[in-house]
Every structure is written in structure tokens, then in C-alpha cells.
Symmetry: C3
Subunit: 144 residues, 3 copies
């Protein structure tokens, strides 16, 4: 059994839902050394989040953005935390609904996602900046 | 320390929330060998999800289905991804709100859930088919 | 590699969102022994939950409570599970939306949270009582 941990910084993305599986895996050369385990991917921010969803249709990501804007509207009359802009408080709530991490099974040196699954970075701010992820892989190392 | 990984296929279930703790544990004979650790249960799909909730009252599961249908309605006017049926896009959104995995502490050879906790398979499609889970257990093996 | 597991009981808190990072870490002396890994924090209840969000402004936690009360109202006409009080069924749904666990990277003997991140205990009942957490740390022990 073994554990590695890596920091990955993703460049700024526009507000919305972005498929980032490939971008993450490119930073994880060590993944190929694990025969079985878990990859835990954590975002170190409170106004962006991670989720797993459909990896083909760009319309799915557009509809996520539309629906989350309905679910957590800007300028709700009861918000008290409004100093950092009308997109800030909704961003915090969206981040907690979706979650700050995903954990994915690792098998035979790769993420063992379903055929249609990809990892989304969910950018909830209008101008979010670069986003730092911490990936921790825990599992069995392959025999060499 | 040790890690095992198993694939489990659950037979098709009707749209709604289903208590599946027993169904999952029946496939995990190896669980009894772990004194402490984590069991990570992952669903390899984007229109069904996993969550942990109340394990007694069937009405709770009915109310989950009713409320999620309010929270993420079918045929919202802004959906663009509509080709796969009116239940498809809501299914994707519900799946991300609830999440694609649960992780449960393992203790003394069993899932260390609270008294009232059970694992739900949340089937968001009208005709979802069988659902594949990947269970990864990481922990300390018992002395024999 | 090594694994420890601890039970922590948090005293009763009023309905709402509470920053509990320090309260949890105070019970985790062993954390200092891990150079890298994951801390999995699990709540053994179905009407309270855990999430990670902003750790400075108390207004953020107030707005979470306000918004979740909009998102999951009491006394929705379709609720069937009503015997345990009007706050009970909403509490179950809120708990699943937010989730029953958080997993945080461990680095150099501490939780590797972002600058603005803290762990929230989300108490969804009016009179919730003490809440039991199980923390499992899996990772590499430091050399001594």
C-alpha cells in the first residue's frame, strides 16, 4: 500500500461547468503505478466545486449552469453576505450542494470511471481565477 | 494495510429511491476481514446516484422522490439537452446534487453506519437498467 | 501506511450551520503523525450533515440556513413522512443534498484545507441532540 499527493493548479475558467478529466489526468503520471485504490480529488476553494457527470454533450454542462442559477439565485432578499458581489453567496451555496471533492476508484493504472462519466470543475464565480486541486491516491502499487 | 476492489451489478429498479445496504453487503464477504478502514462505493453512471439516509420508513424514500421532482423539474424551458427524453437532463442534475459515491467507515468487519442510516440507490431514469457499482475497501486487515 | 479511527461526539447545537473545524481537530492528536493521506469525517445521523465552506463570515452560515429553508421547505403538501415533526422530512432531504461525510487531504500533520475553508456541521433539526462523528485517517506515518 502506498499514498501519493499532488497539487494541481487549473488555469482560470469562465463561470460554468467544465469537463476537466483529461486536464487532471495529465498531471497524474503516478496513476499508472497503481493496480487498485482510490483517487481523491479536492478543490481548495469555497466558490467552485467538483462533480462527476456526462462527458459527451456540451449542452448538459450548459443546462447545469442554467439550472443551478434557478436553484440558487443571485440577490435573494434574505442574503446577508452581499459585500463580495451578487455572485458570491450563490457560489458558496452551489459549492456545498455539489461538494468540494470527488473520489474515483483506480484500477490497472487509470481512473475507473464509467463510459459516460467525466470530472467537472464547476466555476461559480464570474471571475474565479486559477483553482488549486489536491489529488491524493491511496492504493496498491503494481509489481514491476 | 490492504485494499480490495469489487464490481457489483444491481438489477434494474424503478425510478425512485431504494434502500440497498443489504444488497451491497451481501456482495462484500471480504468486509469481515477488515478491523478498521473505509468502504468507498461508487456508481458508474450519470443518471443514478448514491446517498445515505433513513433506513426504516418507506415514506421517507417516497418523499425524496417527490421533492427531487420539484427541485429539478422535467421540461424546464431552459434545458437544451432534451434528445434523450424529458427524464434525462433532470436525472443528470439530480445525480450531481446527490453524488456518485458514498464512503462509509469500516469497523470490526462491518459498515459502521449509524442506527438509522442506510445506503440508497437513487434511480433517476424511468427505465434505468442495471447499475454497476465499484466498491473499494481500504484498511487494516484483522489478525487471524 | 496506517489507519486510525476515532469517534467524536459534538455537543448539541441549535438548528443552523456551524463551523466545527477546531472542535474536530482538537480530538485528533494523531493527525500530527501523518505526513500525507486523507481524513474521512462521517456523521452517523440522517438529519444533520457535513460540508466544507467559508470559514470567516458568520453571515455566510446564516445565509446557508435561509437558503436551505427555501430549497427544502417544511410542510410541503406532498410529504408523507410527517409524524416526527415538520422539521424532520426537510432535515433528511437537506442531509442528503449536503452529504454525510467530507474527506480532506492530510499533509505534514494537519488538514490541508484551503485558506478560506472550514468544516460545517449542518444541524437540520430544531432539537438535534449530540451528534456522533467517526473520523478515519488513512495515510503515511511520519518517520520519527
Amino acid at each position: 500500500m502506498n499514498c501519493i499527493q499532488k497539487e494541481i493548479t487549473l488555469p482560470p475558467k469562465r463561470r460554468g461547468f467544465h469537463l476537466v478529466t483529461r486536464e487532471i489526468v495529465e498531471h497524474l503520471k503516478e496513476l499508472s503505478e497503481y493496480s487498485a485504490g482510490i483517487a481523491h480529488i479536492f478543490i481548495c476553494h469555497t466558490s467552485a466545486s467538483l462533480t462527476i457527470n456526462e462527458n459527451v454533450s456540451p449542452e448538459v454542462r450548459v443546462d447545469f449552469e442554467s439550472h443551478f442559477n434557478e436553484l440558487v439565485p443571485e440577490e435573494a432578499p434574505y442574503y446577508e453576505h452581499t459585500l463580495e458581489g451578487s455572485d458570491d453567496m450563490p457560489a458558496h451555496i452551489k459549492a456545498s450542494i455539489l461538494g468540494s471533492s470527488v473520489a474515483v476508484p483506480v484500477k490497472d493504472g487509470r481512473l475507473n470511471l464509467g463510459t459516460w462519466q467525466g470530472i467537472y470543475l464547476c466555476e461559480h464565480r464570474n471571475h474565479g481565477g486559477p483553482r488549486k486541486l489536491i489529488v491524493t491516491i491511496i492504493g496498491e502499487r503494481k509489481m514491476k
